[in-house]
Symmetry: D3
Subunit: 159 residues, 6 copies
């Protein structure tokens, strides 16, 4: 099999956890996004609960942080790494009945935190779905994507 | 706080795991979808590896199945339940350089498996991202959504 | 070794997970309590954040619920069971600078949920400690205890 | 919201995992305590089993060690860290029918191990409860508290 | 692909968690074995510690029980099930410097507990290795195998 | 109790996680082996599926990698460490109807990765059993053993 750049497979096609032993420990950061689009009525319910007890957003925020810690349990070939920080921001876009999620993760490690940031954003979005599904099963999670990564040999990448 | 249908909070706004003790154990099923859109070159790499060792899709399939089993670890207010079955289908949509994922989960339980199906689809999509990110950081996961649920008191819902 | 009622050991002293296969599946409930006592200044900080974003109590509440789901991962001889419901109540006792936690868990199972309720209360208390430890390392978690259990062959027990 | 020292929340009240990326990796240690008070008869059963197979204390000791490893799974905003050592000591205080638990954890890290030591002590105490609950549901876990921490910028703290 | 009886793959070769939704909940049991063979000197150390604190066997026993609870986390296509009981027996075979492990698991479920029994035996054996590896890296775990299964549609199987 | 080299116990026989705080962070590697022997017919089924979708070996490979990441969850006194790489090789030994598994793990750490390599090999072997058990319950996992370790103060060991 000619090498095609998919580094999670060896020359014979076997999956492996890529050896990062030769890489330097450097400061690494990644930012990922996700959205949740819902019915107008559902959006208003979420909005009305902000800044109160029973705030959907705060539950999703914690789920995103704890989800980031489970990344290497979920993604088979992902290295188990520590985390220096994880945080999530939520933007309630009223005209679109959409919640925009942004997750930032950082670590001092031999490998990056892109998957941790993407997992944090995904789990936060799934949690919003879970909290609101009793009133709106049609919600759609969209545009889960990397916005930025920095640190390591490959340096900065920005969408 | 007037009751607004968000059942994961009690009357005073405290989050809780909803009591399903009074519900019947019935056969429940859910089907969820996700997509991963990538560069044409990345799509060809994934396609070229199908039916061989080193198949990105088969790694994602296993990750989706094992991810479904972690659902209640990830989603804070989700009930821990068993699973009768989990399966994933993948469709390589060449004209759009997009992989369409469909995850089906079923259980005999007092509560539904929507979150398990959505988590399976999300984790499979994240795994495709992880496998291909060395060649394409710009991939986008989109349209994570429920297609169908059946069983339980609220019966069938179909998108 | 004469039998002394410690059922988690067999006749020869080996630890085992007690066989509950012959027990009936019945509705079971347990209520447990814990307290966290802190400096007056710390107590006021927690109180001032109630009903706002950044509410220590709401983070502890979620941690208690998710902790209950990890009970059989933590307690070696505890059966892995599902959960029908978990909820936590918090009472801010101003005159004592103390937070009183009450955790309730229920399940339809062959074995009880005492350990799940106690774990929920303990993890909620530890989380309050974690949230406030930057300002008060001297906080004390106290009186983690069962208040009530019901269901199963041994019936109701109340403190 | 005026800053009140609760570092697990950002300026707007959102929970986050505090950024420790700028902190130095140093040797850190923490010692925590817990107690379990029980009926005299229960205490004698535990005591009679010491130094034999079927020793409640040895099961609790292992549970405390394995519990310490789960700390960041349990406490939402706790950093995932390695551990250099974990050990537990137990003191059977006959005149009070009380078992005193002391847990010590250490790590070379950017953040402390207070929560790991407290979790080890709590899980050991919960495990003693679990092992003896068939004969004594009234046991009380008390005084879960930090005794000492050392290392890191804030230096030594001792109760 | 002609069907060859490997039920964990569907007609097109995709892995899936087999649907057990149509199966009956029945009482199921499985017994598995493993052995650990070691140097004579190592064997004597293990033997000398039996019935004392610091007993290698008792640590392995607990590890086997807790390992059984993690089976569906480890084996990708294994159903998450509860457990009615888990126990392990150890036989110190002096003439062969070998420890024989026997693990029994039972459950009332739609699927069997063979993997739980085999995982319990394997994890117990690995734990003996871990406890003794400082003095004997050459130990060999052997003959991990199913001895018996009963219950379910396929009935009893005995080696 | 005279010290007998079993470092996982302290002077009084209490189990503890050995303190590695004083050890240097060095590059460490370990290689472990396992075998699975099966009926000739089963062996042919596995062989026929190689290089196709539905390949038993590729599922076992992923399970071995993800299993390595769970090592410190399974082995009570094992330190939680990161991993720099994990890979598995499989050799189908036709004349013996046997699959030979070789697992390699590496890390930059204060402690070795022997248990991670052994756990990877064991979990891969258990997964082969699980995938084929519908057609062959008599399969035997054998010769789980360390082949090599290098790095750290004790240096290289080779079988």
């Amino acid at each position: 099999m000619a090498f095609d750049g998919l580094t999670h497979f060896d020359d014979e096609g076997g999956a492996h956890m890529v050896d990062v032993g030769g890489k330097e420990v450097t400061s690494r950061v990644a930012v990922a996004a996700a959205t949740v689009t819902m019915a107008a009525e559902t959006f208003q319910k979420v909005k009305n609960r902000q800044m109160k007890k029973g705030d959907v957003i705060e539950v999703a925020r914690l789920a995103g942080i704890t989800g980031a810690k489970r990344t290497s349990d979920l993604i088979p070939l992902c290295h188990p790494i520590g985390l220096d920080s994880v945080s999530l921001d939520f933007d309630l876009v009223e005209e679109a009945n959409r919640i925009d999620i942004r997750a930032t993760a950082s670590v001092s490690s031999r490998t990056g935190v892109e998957m941790e940031a993407l997992t944090a954003a995904s789990v936060a979005a799934l949690t919003i779905y879970d909290m609101c599904k009793a009133v709106d099963r049609g919600m759609v999670i969209g545009e889960v994507k990397l916005l930025l990564k920095d640190g390591g040999k490959s340096g900065r990448w920005e969408r």
